[in-house]
Point group: C2
Chain length 591, copies 2
Amino acid sequence: MESETKNLVGQSRIPLLNWLPSYSKALLSGDIMAGSIVAIVLLPQAMAYAMLAGLPPQIGLYSCVLPILLYAALGSSRTLAVGPVGLMSLMVGEVIGGLNLSSGADVLFVAVSLALLSGGLLVLMFVLRFGSIVNFISHPVLSGFTSAAALIIGVSQLKQMLGLDMPRAAHFYETTINLVNAAHTINPATAVLGIAGIAVISGIRTPVLNRFLVGLLPKLLYAVVSKSGPLIAVIGGTVFVWVFELDRTSGVTIVGEIPSGLPRLSFPRGDWEMFVQLLPMATVIAIVGFLESVSVAKALASKKRQKIDANQELLALGCANIGAAFSGGYPVAGGLGRSMVNFSAGANTQLASVLTALLIAFSLIFLTPLLYYLPRAVLAAIIIVAVFGLFDLKTLKHVWEYDKAEAACLLVTFFAVLIIGIEWGILLGALVSIGIHLQRSSEPHIAIVGRVGNTEHFRNIERHSVTTCSRVIAMRVDENLYFANTSFLEDYIMALIADNQQAKHLVLICSAVNKIDSSALELLDTLIERLRYVGVNLHLAEVKGPVMDQLKKTSFLVRLQPGQVFLSTHVAMQTLDSGQNFTTDPDFSSE
Amino acid sequence: MESETKNLVGQSRIPLLNWLPSYSKALLSGDIMAGSIVAIVLLPQAMAYAMLAGLPPQIGLYSCVLPILLYAALGSSRTLAVGPVGLMSLMVGEVIGGLNLSSGADVLFVAVSLALLSGGLLVLMFVLRFGSIVNFISHPVLSGFTSAAALIIGVSQLKQMLGLDMPRAAHFYETTINLVNAAHTINPATAVLGIAGIAVISGIRTPVLNRFLVGLLPKLLYAVVSKSGPLIAVIGGTVFVWVFELDRTSGVTIVGEIPSGLPRLSFPRGDWEMFVQLLPMATVIAIVGFLESVSVAKALASKKRQKIDANQELLALGCANIGAAFSGGYPVAGGLGRSMVNFSAGANTQLASVLTALLIAFSLIFLTPLLYYLPRAVLAAIIIVAVFGLFDLKTLKHVWEYDKAEAACLLVTFFAVLIIGIEWGILLGALVSIGIHLQRSSEPHIAIVGRVGNTEHFRNIERHSVTTCSRVIAMRVDENLYFANTSFLEDYIMALIADNQQAKHLVLICSAVNKIDSSALELLDTLIERLRYVGVNLHLAEVKGPVMDQLKKTSFLVRLQPGQVFLSTHVAMQTLDSGQNFTTDPDFSSE
């Protein structure tokens, strides 16, 4: 086990030990640059996401110190930037909103418990090598879920961005209704700040402004400025509120006092009853966070021909989340946008992330008083811009063109997440996509084949001009033989035999059969009996090596006799046809 | 739709109209013989099963009149014998036991409701063409479920067979504990009757006695006697109790008064709250009954090259169950043992079943007073002998040899049904078997292939001596490409490219790929980009017709360029290798 893991991750169980000893100065400038820029992006983002989760802003910052350091030591990705992310913040917020907690201490306890539980689940999945569980979530389900989450997040931020006076709601439809009812309570000053925030953050990304900045600024400064939209909005908004005293005169909600100093390390309290209640959502948080992190890490690693070890990521993300729990934070993952910033700003190793963590720690110690007048509307603007790109109509369009049933699955997930909630919505989507897959393979494509001209090739009699033989039927099943399609296959073959009274041999061509499960083996046994009863012998052809190995474990090949397993359809037809009908085959041209 | 159905069932929506008009006298003797023998088997069995379900014995007989007549008219099987069966009686009993009903009227109401609900569900499945839902239950799951059910049924009958004084329990483990605790309350007279019953019923089936009887009796009488074990036990037991007054002197429980006369037709009362509560179990009853009936019907039909239409069976069984509900019966299905008796006694058409129903009706009108002294221990013996054959260790042995994971799935189902109950046990088993299937196909067999000698064949480089080329990698994936294996495939290909730095082309051989879903298409798009970034072109080869048709719906083939789709691996290697390395290929022998 040890050596296997070593191979996968390179040299050691702790990836840090692979790159740190051989660290060269040439890598340093890139790492410093990237680490600083990510800190600038992360500082306001972490506070904004914490507030999306219904938590005080410092909790977001606490989640950016120890977790980042732990991931830097254990993660197999060189450039993944860990910290609070939108989807998980939304889910934490949904849990907190649904529990009707009275005290702030309870809210923090739930956040810490979720981090501890999802971290523990990830480590458990690492121990059990269960990383493959994420395989059961298909691309359409993920896309539908992400779009729905983006919509929920965006709508939930309108309250803060426009300064509406409305109660917090657990469900999307309640939030929407509350928004409409509270539309008249809009706070003009807040709305101006929020809309200006969106304009600054998204404006600085527009191609026109980008080209202008490239010409104006030195290259290094440009790299910093072009990523600093959120920071500029934060500084501008804070100064504006402070100068015009908008918090007192115009009712603009501000962040207020943030306790300064690093998070205190503490052992999270245990409450079994609460843990049991939180477990379903913690599972979804763990899986979604793992999915997002690994897909981002893989995309970045492939650009440098580096490898990601999904199981190592389970360990690293698990430890990062447990670290978050021990330092008063909430669940973290590798974020897409932030990691892209890290990568494109030149990060070479996780040293960049170490620097990010140190800069966030510095801010926690010295800069929190400066954030007193930061308007929440600006934080809401940061989130809205961040999630806007997640709303994914393109995938729906592509999937719709390609496969209507999968598109339906995407839409089911999207609406289910909006209507019945995140964890049940994503579960329903996953079940529907598995159901579609099983349903499809339960009615496989079956071709009756014949010989093409004078060759050894056998093709579908409905698509090609081929020679057949009335005594021998050759059928190719284009699917694994397993429980979901045994019934279809049974009906198909018995109908085939009923319709071809002259047939004496049936050759089942297994070139597309990668697996025969025990239900299908049982069916083959039944078919041997039933076909023999009506004077037909069953044969197999082109059985693959692994399938043959498994069949040999049983006495099936004995029960098949006088039926045989032929290497190729050609040999089967040559042997069984006894020289009849194949006028095109030179070997049998005497008849 | 109409014409399609006509084709499948022969000529008409009502199969009765196919065989009755052309009925010939030659068929009559077989039908009369079979119908009479089945009635002899069914009379005691129906009462025994009703009592297994916790119902008065006449309910079992009521379930043998109208339901049998309806199935005879609508069923696509010529020989299936419908009526109460063990598995469904057990499930009805579990529902009744779990509800803690006080009055006998409530018990009857639940039984009738279950028949109405499961009948309605079957007709609904017929309308929606949902017969394929049964495909999702694999053979090991079914075997595990049947064995567990046989065990539960057998154990539950020990109380009646031995005359134990113990309370009725809802769960198997409670029943077992109660049995052990009540072992000392055994009633000697009852136990003697019960054991004698088992001896008579199973004794008459033994080869030795059978050979003796064949020599002794005329052929016709032998056919009747050899199936009459239950009836002989019933008559013997009844006479014994009546003569020695065992019910009063020795505490033998007797059936007592059975109301004589046919069931009254009545419209079942509706109680929505109860219906909602019964729905999950009614669904399982409907599916299990359908599964058992169709598999028995298929097995018998194949012996005469007849066809079974699964959707027509949904309609016929649905109507039979609704008929049971309207005539005071409980859920019915086609039983294995009884149908085998019917078939082997010479039944040619459902006229045999019509006769069975008429004989049961006759018994209800005239013979019920004779059953007053029938000891319940004999009915329990009938059930125990009937379910003994269902306990299926052979399948476990076969599946264990063939595939350990599927054997585990069988055992999970077996113990889950015993421990957590029938409907959740079977659901868990189905989910586990689907999970195993997905897990398997999520790590497909992948072969890197090379040219075999001087041929156009390409085989696994690990199994065969083949020629390869360092610039072109040809890999064959032996599985459909779909969401469960995209992640594995991505990792495999990126590692392959990282390990083969000279590679310029990757050919994905799709000869075993019957389906590419949208998640896999997304992966292929990602791979095109990532491979291009590191200087490798992706190509496809041997893509099947239906898969190619679907790919052509998108702009994938444009995005693939300069990658191509080759007709065969041979053509791909010829084109991409540019004459290098293939010293064995005559076309490129110049180098």
